[in-house]
């Protein structure tokens, strides 16, 4: 039979290895900082069609993630989607006339919101609304239009 001290050392090593693995999964594999990202200010934007945008999809500016989609709702009067964006506090000088578009990462990738800075003096603050928006490109629509135009030509 094994000495109980050896057993204890082995179990200690096992627990350390397991915790190290958990630490690696949370620090190196996923991003632990996403947890603190909730501190930010919220702005809204109306889109005609958001395609496959999801809550927590990234909001980028010049390709840099500056925030995440916090909420997606529906405006009963205008029949448009209302998207709430959560922008991190450190990006506090985004012009008020900035435009928002929904892009797709790669051909079939996930969708995200890209912001393009405008030229206004005022900046976005909590509760502002982004006026200039461009909807998602829905692949089926484009293909549909393409087919219709082909049919028209004949």
């Amino acid at each position: 039979m094994m000495h109980s001290r050896t057993v204890q050392i082995w179990v200690g090593l096992f627990v350390i290895a397991g915790l190290a693995a958990l630490l690696m999964l949370s620090m190196k594999v996923s991003n632990i900082s996403t947890f603190t990202e909730t501190e930010g200010y919220e702005v809204t934007a109306h889109f005609e069609n958001i395609g496959g945008l999801k809550v927590r999809s990234p909001v980028t500016m010049a390709g840099v993630v500056v925030g995440r989609v916090a909420n997606i709702g529906f405006d009963k009067e205008s029949y448009e989607a209302v998207v709430t964006l959560n922008i991190q506090n450190e990006y506090d000088n985004i012009p008020a006339d900035t435009s928002a578009s929904i892009f797709t990462a790669g051909l079939l990738g996930e969708q995200y919101i890209g912001l393009e800075a405008g030229g206004a003096e005022e900046v976005l603050t909590a509760g502002s609304e982004l006026e200039l928006t461009q909807s998602a490109i829905v692949l089926e629509q484009i293909i549909g239009q393409f087919l219709v135009s082909q049919a028209d030509k004949e």
Binding site: S4, A21, L22, M24, V29, S30, F35, L107
Partner: protein, 259 residues
């Protein structure tokens, strides 16, 4: 016809009766947990046989599963020019599904069967009976520490499996196939969510550990005390434990990621 119906009824009753006993058994064993705290050495000893002795098979499997995921994923992604996403693919597959599930299956085969055989043999050789007569409750003294050790070990084993799997995927992707080192990790970090993916994976492994260990110790305790009975109980643990892992994985996945 009536015969078949009767047999079906009898089987159903038998299963229900066994389930009932299994739950009473669970309650009784859980009642022994508080008494384990001052004698945690017993749990540590069991974590050695349940956890440490499963380490090699878990580590090797994790590494190889990760490497295979890297190879296969590369072949698919290279057609779309999206090989940078290899890290994401490997990590998500492991953390969400393969880590807990494959570790759970291996755990049922390696640790679960050993637990069943050990407890079953203790029953067959009247050791459990002798303990009862010494006024020591075998459910508290024998089963409870093993049960707790299983519950504690399984999440650690699953985490080790996933972590080594990612390392294996990294070796293949970056080392062999020339995927960009930075892209591998940064894409992975951007897309793998701590809460949604990692935590949910850990929850899965906790559930699997609980259920597999429960099945294993109950099968052992409920063994028909003969060599044949022990061998059948051991087989039952592996089969039922594996089926439970797969079935529960489906349910948990639907609950966690099905929105």
């Amino acid at each position: 016809m009536l015969d078949a119906l009767q047999r079906l009824g009898a089987t159903a009753l038998g299963v229900a009766e066994r389930m009932g006993r299994g739950h009473l058994f669970l309650l009784h064993v859980l009642g022994g947990f508080p008494a384990l705290l001052p004698r945690f050495g017993m749990v540590v000893k069991q974590m050695y046989s349940v956890g440490v002795l499963s380490l090699v098979i878990i580590a090797v499997s994790g590494l190889f599963v990760g490497m295979v995921l890297g190879l296969q994923g590369y072949n698919t992604l290279v057609d779309f020019g999206a090989t940078e996403s290899l890290g994401v693919m490997v990590a998500l597959s492991l953390v969400r599904e393969l880590g807990p599930v494959v570790a759970g299956l291996l755990f049922a085969g390696r640790a679960g069967s050993a637990l069943t055989a050990e407890i079953g043999l203790m029953k067959a050789t009247e050791q459990l009976s002798a303990m009862e007569m010494m006024a020591v409750d075998p459910l508290h003294r024998v089963v409870a520490p093993r049960f707790l050790a299983g519950i504690l070990s399984m999440p650690l084993l699953a985490a080790i499996f996933s972590a080594l799997g990612v390392v294996g995927g990294y070796f293949v992707a970056v080392g062999l196939l020339g995927v960009d080192d930075g892209a591998f990790w940064s894409q992975m970090q951007a897309k793998v969510d701590l809460h949604e993916d990692v935590f949910n994976g850990v929850i899965k492994s906790v559930v699997f550990g609980f259920v597999v260990t429960w099945i294993a110790v109950f099968e052992g305790y409920d063994t028909v005390p003969t060599s044949e009975g022990v061998s059948r109980a051991t087989t039952n643990t592996v089969v039922h434990g594996s089926l439970a892992v797969l079935g529960l994985d489906f349910v948990l996945t639907a609950l966690m990621f099905g929105k």
